[in-house]
Assembly symmetry: D2
Homo-oligomer: 133 residues x 4
């Protein structure tokens, strides 16, 4: 898989009284990373036909974040998706963030694909497999 | 009008690097104050029949906040609606917040009532006038 | 260990366009849960003498959240710490959340104790061991 | 004054259950706009010498936001500072936001300059007057 990267400029309100970026702001950035990744891959790959209207969507099943180092205000952060492992009904997206050459975050999110009507897990559509594989 | 009060316990992630609660967190609390006020009045007053299904809702048209003093982590904040002025198509809700006996915030929000379908302003329903007046 | 519980009333701005509480808001609530737990235990237990001024603090090393079910606006959420496992330099706090009798979240956070000056891990102080064990 | 603009890409977690960007997220963006403006002007103008170490800082005294139109996920927002009016001890920064050619927000923030030690208002430093005028 080709890495997917985004740049995030920390915002003042994302800091906390410890003087660094708060862990919950970083969990929110992690959503930005995986959502931008899915948007980009599903629109640009062979899976461009993936269509929520087809009745399949995904939900977030799990998030894991290792806080490797503090993130500070004043310098851009690079977020990177380094792997997207497709299972039967789920996709595990692994990412990292770094600031000023230091790794600050590593983690993953598990997305489960569901039938939007029954809310039950369904096989990850082939269009998605093709797009993010 | 009888004052309406809520209690907010500041959260660590709502602080910022200046060591106090961030202004944007307080703007978010202000939403909590006006929404809880509307929910409580519309459900308990004679306007309990107010029904979004009737096709009338409101949107936020303006917010004004004066930051009178810093708000800190570690001590509860009291939010208070002190006035709700009903105009033709709008309601202006005025509120205050205090912490440890010091006023920290005063401000107001203007809600405009709209026809949910046309999105055009409509007269504030009588049920709402009765409930929050 | 005796369970520690908090109550969280979802806020409107914590919802997202999917109509439920956003995952990042829940990650923020998870901070509230563990911080309130630590505050309560360290102040009320035999470890009341634990003193950041003594130069020992903790940092968040990892968070894991399993999203078991959707959380909605309009009904209180109960957060519960069900375990706090003390290691050599870290504490693993395990928690759950539920709404209307349904489990919505389970997860854990790993806190690492550090010397505030050198920023290096140190043994979890005895006062902390006594207080949260 | 030359306009100062920033671009903000709405994030999924900034939406709310009404399907648009929540008002509190926009209040937070408004902080981003005024802070980036001050950072850029104070570093690049003749006031580059403005130094918090000199003991002068600013606090937010008031924010006013008119919500002119809904902001949605999926399309960039342009934030623009269109005026910065320097008074004796304060600066009033007026800004706007637009999305897809529609104005979504107009508003202002009042910053008061203070002596960081006494926390009392002081005259806006000449370096600041030169930089943002």
């Amino acid at each position: 898989m080709q890495d997917f990267t985004i740049t995030i400029s920390p915002r003042l309100y994302e800091t906390d009284a410890m003087g660094h970026i708060n862990n919950a702001s970083i969990a929110a950035w992690f959503e930005v990373l995986r959502v931008r990744f899915m948007e980009e891959r599903l629109a640009s790959g062979p899976g461009a036909g993936f269509d929520p209207a087809a009745g399949v969507g995904w939900i977030l099943a799990a998030v894991h974040i290792d806080y490797k180092g503090e993130t500070f205000y004043g310098s851009d952060v690079t977020g990177r998706v380094i792997d997207a492992a497709v299972g039967n009904t789920s996709v595990k997206i692994t990412g990292e963030m770094e600031q000023d050459g230091r790794q600050t975050i590593s983690g993953y999110a598990v997305l489960v694909f569901i039938d939007m009507e029954t809310r039950r897990p369904v096989r990850v559509p082939d269009t998605v497999r093709d797009a993010i594989g």
